[in-house]
């Protein structure tokens, strides 16, 4: 037998090299991309996307009644929004579905203890799991970009809109995937981890807007009946709504695009508020995407380290 004694690697590896050589990423990607499965999934994904876009185009074309057919800019905009909508669904549901079983699956398969007695650090383990899940989700997102480009052929969509939306989607993909990974580290089974993951994702994307909507419906009669509703209160309400939009993925995408297209600004815009006093005041509002990116990046960092901490912890039970 050859000598098996290994000296620990002393040469410091770069961050990229460590990511590229992460054994968990290599193993997961090797397994995931093996055989026909990955090819079939990608093909079906693209067929569904293409079919969906064709359907949207046909529906829009038949609905348009102008003498020169549908306005190509509007068609481009609809295609862009549709593909973006599908990407959002991928990020919220498919990404976390990969990570929700990443750690709990190791526990269920009884391979978790084998890994924990190796020299693989908790950070490398979590990063490897995250990267392998994200790689596949990002692959699904990136292969749809040529379909997005159809929107450019039609016009009506600016490059900055595409770039901004893709940055927001990418950051969301990381955060939602990490949420799934964190749930997976806390739960014993993949089923319970998946339930917690989807419940959390649904609450953030659908639950909060519904709760806000309900509150505003309940409170609107009080505001309408109020004798004095100052411009400051109106401005505060607008800031609060923009803040809430900045916590929600679909709202951020929609409002940021509106600010970009309607107000012609990437960062901020001004609007007039007057309350019931009749006087007009100008308030400056920020587009929600910077707040969204800051919040979601911070959340991603917190979730990453919370998961690492959970994995590193030596069991007491």
């Amino acid at each position: 037998m050859t000598e098996l004694v290994q000296e620990p690697a002393t040469k410091k590896k770069s961050f990229i090299q460590r990511l590229r050589e992460n054994p968990v990423t290599v193993k997961e990607l090797r397994s995931r991309m093996r055989g026909r499965r990955a090819f079939v999934v990608l093909t079906v994904h693209l067929l569904v996307m293409s079919g969906f876009i064709t359907l949207v185009y046909s529906a829009f074309a038949s609905a348009a009644s102008g003498p020169f057919g549908p306005d190509s800019r509007e068609v481009g905009k609809v295609i862009f929004s549709s593909v973006l909508g599908l990407q959002v669904m991928l990020v919220i549901f498919v990404g976390p579905s990969f990570t929700a079983g990443a750690i709990s699956g190791e526990k269920e398969r009884q391979t978790y203890d084998l890994l924990r007695t190796t020299l693989l650090s908790a950070k490398s383990f979590v990063a490897g799991k995250l990267l392998s899940a994200l790689s596949y989700v990002l692959l699904l997102i990136f292969v749809a970009i040529p379909l997005q480009s159809i929107a450019f052929l039609m016009g009506g969509v600016a490059v900055i809109e595409l770039v901004l939306s893709q940055v927001i989607v990418l950051v969301s993909a990381v955060t939602f995937a990490l949420w799934g990974l964190y749930a997976s580290s806390r739960m014993r089974t993949t089923l319970s981890a998946s339930v917690v993951t989807f419940a959390g994702a649904l609450f953030v994307t659908v639950g909060i807007p519904v709760v806000v909507g309900l509150f505003s419906m309940i409170l609107s009669p009080f505001f309408a009946g109020a004798a004095v509703f100052s411009w400051q209160a109106e401005a505060a309400l607008m800031y609060a709504l923009m803040f809430l939009a900045g916590t929600n993925l679909p709202a951020t995408l929609i409002v940021s695009d509106i600010v970009l297209v309607e107000e012609g600004s990437l960062w901020y815009f001004s609007t007039s508020v007057g309350g019931f006093s009749g006087s007009s005041h100008t308030v400056w509002l920020f587009s929600p995407w910077p707040l969204f990116l800051i919040l979601y990046i911070l959340l991603a960092v917190v979730l990453f380290y919370a998961t690492v901490r959970r994995v590193r912890k030596i069991a007491t039970q």
């Binding site: 037998m1 050859t2 098996l4 004694v5 290994q6 620990p8 690697a9 050589e21 054994p23 290599v26 193993k27 090797r30 397994s31 093996r34 055989g35 398969r109 009884q110 391979t111 203890d113 084998l114 890994l115 924990r116 007695t117 190796t118 020299l119 693989l120 030596i314 069991a315 007491t316 039970q317």
Partner: protein
């Protein structure tokens, strides 16, 4: 020989249940140490603490001089662990499995390929290199897992029930493999409830019951200590009655068992002897000197099952 595993007052409690109670033992380098006990005796708990997977409620333990509580990473570098139940990954080939775990031990890629071949040759799985792990038999998986524990050339192998669930042939192969590892200088700490196997290959044993240590020491010494006197079997030609009378007059002979009392051949008898080797030799000489036609005269060694039954009370099952 120096101490490679040191356990001092190790206790593990789960609520009111004491799984391990004040366990203290030392294992010397190069030993094959058998850890015996009924189910629920605390064997796996001890092993999980030694492999840094579980925190003890109190007490300390060191492996290769490193504390399992204060320096788990250094301990992991020195141990190879095979749990009683372990899983394998789907969609993974045998060589990929070993390569993955070798990478988890920071072994450089350039070394891994040759090392995988060597490990597979050691466990006689070279012909299964490109087979999927899932397709292997239980015995093969067990051997593969043993190869995995050797990937980083650890000093100590901690094996929890390595032969459980194996058919007789696979058990023999596993036993041979453990013998080979012993000749390679590995310290093997393994648990088992198959006493004949433990007796075959162990240099020392510890018997655990209800979380407490009931017997511990060198294999031969244990058998000697636990047996108050020696059991000698004698076979002779002719009538055995004069021999019986002669033996009863000897001060070191305590009692005689004949074929009428026990299932032994009719030309044989057994007697308890309290003297040492010199006294036993003298007894044989005097039998011959008195013209008794002795054909066989040998000490019954007794087996580990006797020892086990003698020291345990069947508290847990």
């Amino acid at each position: 020989m120096s101490t490679i595993i040191e356990i001092q007052g190790l206790t593990k409690k789960y609520g009111d249940l004491t799984a391990l109670n004040d366990l203290t033992l030392n294992i010397q380098e190069g030993e094959v140490f058998g850890f015996i006990g009924p189910n629920g005796a605390g064997k796996t708990t001890t092993m999980r603490i030694l492999t840094t997977l579980l925190k003890p409620s109190s007490g300390k333990a060191w492996v290769a001089g490193e504390s399992v509580i204060d320096n788990p990473r250094a301990v992991r570098r020195n141990i190879g662990y095979m749990p009683d139940f372990f899983g394998v990954y789907d969609d993974m080939k045998v060589w990929e499995y070993l390569d993955f775990f070798a990478a988890c031990y920071d072994i450089p890629q350039s070394t891994r390929l040759g090392m995988v071949d060597d490990l597979l040759a050691l466990v006689d799985l070279g012909h299964k290199k490109d087979a999927f792990v899932d397709s292997l038999s239980r015995g093969m998986k067990q051997r593969l897992c043993l190869a995995r524990t050797l990937a980083h050339d650890p000093q100590v192998l901690i094996l929890d029930e390595p032969a459980s669930g194996l058919d007789p042939r696979a058990r023999i192969e596993m036993r041979e493999l453990l013998r080979e590892l012993k000749t390679m200088g590995k310290t093997i700490f393994f648990s088992s409830h198959i006493l004949s196997e433990v007796a075959d290959i162990c240099t020392s044993i510890a018997i655990l019951e209800a979380g407490g240590l009931v017997a511990y020491g060198d294999m031969a010494e244990m058998k000697r200590q636990l047996r108050a006197h020696r059991l000698i079997q004698l076979r002779a030609l002719g009538d055995l009655t004069p021999i019986q009378e002669f033996l009863l007059r000897h001060e070191a002979v305590e009692s005689i068992i004949t074929s009428e009392e026990m299932d032994i051949p009719s030309d044989s008898l057994r007697f308890d002897f309290t003297g040492d080797d010199a006294a036993l030799s003298q007894l044989l000489a005097s039998l011959i000197g008195n013209k008794f036609q002795v054909v066989a005269f040998q000490e019954e060694t007794g087996d580990l099952e006797d020892v086990f039954l003698q020291v345990t009370k069947g508290i847990v099952n």
